[in-house]
Amino acid sequence: MTVSRRRFLEWVAAAGVGTAAASSAKAAHGEFSGYPDSYGVLFDATLCLGCRSCEKACNEVNKLPAPGKPFTDLTVFDEKRRTDYRTFTVVNRYNDTGADKPVYRKIQCNHCLEPACASACFVGAFKKTPEGAVEYDASVCVGCRYCIIACPFNIPAYEYNEALTPRVMKCTLCLPRLREGKLPGCVEACPVEALTFGRRKDLIAIAHEKIRKYPGRYIDHIYGQHEMGGTSWMYLSGVPYTKIDLRTDLGTTPAPEFTSGALAMVPMVIGLWPVLLGGIYKITQRKEKIADAERRQEVANAIAATQGEADAKARAAAEKFQKEKERAVDMAVKKALADADKEKGKEGE
């Protein structure tokens, strides 16, 4: 939280001074290669035996509740399973893949380079760490589950049975262990080293090397190298990826790009709507004003007209009395004027 406050001040400063450019200058070109030496794991489906050692290790390392069936029970392979709030990784068996033997595929959080969950979260509870893990911070999570909507791999799970403190649950890439210099639990447990942990760029090199050495064994594609902008967890397989429930229709667009356009429109609206609407308001107002003015004008004319009449009357009266007796003059004039005054007063109202 302190972090986010610092950020906030950062923004204010940046917004004020416009030094934002400084830190994002290289970013401005729009090309992001992810954290240089971030780690990842390469899963080789041609080696996996389906022994569930990884599931066991994961369960122990993360201190998750013991499952209904023991990890030695291989009947779980009979149905398709997915990750849930107490299972961060599952291995599924696929029988009709075209291969002569069943193929096993481990699934867990793929730790995307541009995590959809992170761009979905409105409290920034998800963060791609320099180590490569996508870290989740339950201390700020509101529980809106938008991250689960966003994840193209259907990984994050939710504690639906927690009344008041439900958390989103998913693989952590064993970040705490990594920081102690240990391997992820599942990797360490794999008897055939079907899981290779290392720097992502090295893993890609190795994967390509394997494909070159055993062209007959592998599909010539590393799943996760480019999917959804690339993932830290990658897969090699001898059978088409769709056969082992890895969607190949996700495309290579990093998740944030889906919404960046819409978000870019926000400032536009804030900037232009008030101007536009204000303008329209003023125009309508002006129309009304003109209408009023016209009305007032008519009234004025009316007044002017009546005024004229009154004066005329007064003059006529004056001449009349002029012709009359001399001594009546002053009195008569005074009288006439008084009348006129009275008239004025009336119209004045």
Binding site: K101, L183, P191, V192, E193, E209, P215, G216
Partner: protein, 517 residues
Amino acid sequence: MNMLRLYGNVKNYQIILLAVCLSLMVVFASGCGKSDAGQQIERADIITIDAMTVFGRLSRPAVDYPHDMHTRALKERGKECADCHLKDDKGVMSQKFMRLTDENEKTTMQIYHDNCITCHKELRAGGFEVGPVVCGNCHSRKPEYVSSRQPMSYDYSLHYRHVKANNDSCGLCHHVYDEQKKELVYIKGQESSCRDCHQKEKIENVISMREASHQSCIGCHIEKQKGFQECSGCHDAKILGAIERVDTPGRIERNQPDFTLIGAAEKDIESSKMNSVPFDHKAHEGFTNSCRDCHHETLKACKECHTLAGDEVGDGITTQRAMHEMKSGHSCVGCHEKHKYDPQCGGCHSLMEQGRLSQHACEICHAGPEPEKLAKAKGKYKSIADFKPPRSKTKLTMAAKDIPEEVTIGIMADKYEPAKMPHRKIIDTLMNHIKNSRMATYFHGHEDVVCQGCHHHSPIGHKPPLCENCHGKPFDQSNLQIPGLYGAYHRQCLGCHEQMNIKLEKDCEGCHAAKQS
């Protein structure tokens, strides 16, 4: 105003509307669930009727027609082939439906529509269960059937069976066209594969392979009332597989050599440098299923088409590529490479880098005389035996006692007891496989090469390095290319067992007992 009357009481209107919408919603929603229902049934006898394509683009989808289904149905009603397939003046049955040639679009279409629909209609009227009578059900984008047709493969065994059945009268099938007599004649020694002349499409007066085979094969079968007369007989994988195989089919005699020295053609001798390759043709006939495995359609010698510099007759494929192309099943190396992953060999070879030849592999094949000596050498060698015989790789140079009986792998034992590996037993098994494989005995460069199956990337010798000498601590990040010891052991053992189909009883405990703690 009339609107008012039209719409009546607003309130009822709303209620009705709501009801309609909700019901629609349910209907549609449930529809969305099972969007792509309807499984297609696999059949080997599906003929796609697209006869109209010769007249240009089809206006409706082509019809997928289950032939056998009709053959049977008609047979039950006492009908026969001739009811659908007319015979021409020579008495050859046309493979078209109810016609000998396609005159024009209209008539051809008429023929199908009239006959098919009328027949279906009649039978339906007669209370039989029959196929469609409306357009869309025949001309469907998502037809009820999907073709599982297999190309007919005529191997040595099948050939042998036919030869015996017709007591060696090759002329029954094999023929050439005699220009003078204007007829098909059989000339001994000039047999070739059907496809040599009968191409995919009809060329001049040479009918297509499809037409030829169906004419001759089915014609003969029907005439003799032997063998299959239905599509599925020759084109259904299951039925084909069920045909009894002759283990030792007599050799097909077509004046091919028992043994030959593969070298450049005379005209190329100058420019050829590599030594010739002594080749046991007879033996390889035993390793292949049909002549075509190596010779494509023709039965010519390789070098006739694949010249040293490449020639358009051989699609510009040079001799070198013709012999060494890794991906082709026709080439020597390609075929050998494929066999390296047979169960007996795969244990070791599948774990080695694929698609590579070692430098010293060359002279193992190219052990014949130099090109210039080739002409003279021809008569000199009669068989591979006259040659420097292949070294016997069936005996190890070391004594049995020098080979550890059992190796205990305990270096990583934590959850489990150390694993006891029956070292010598494994070697003996492998040696047996080598003994039984001529390829292995010939090509394994050294007696003790078998050790390298596991002790790879290290010199051949009595004291190969230990696994842990190269395979360091598991998941070593400074060295991701080489699997750690943990993975190395499991991959080697399990990988080999899997390749050789040697089941391991009770998974982990099978090799190492669980530790009692």
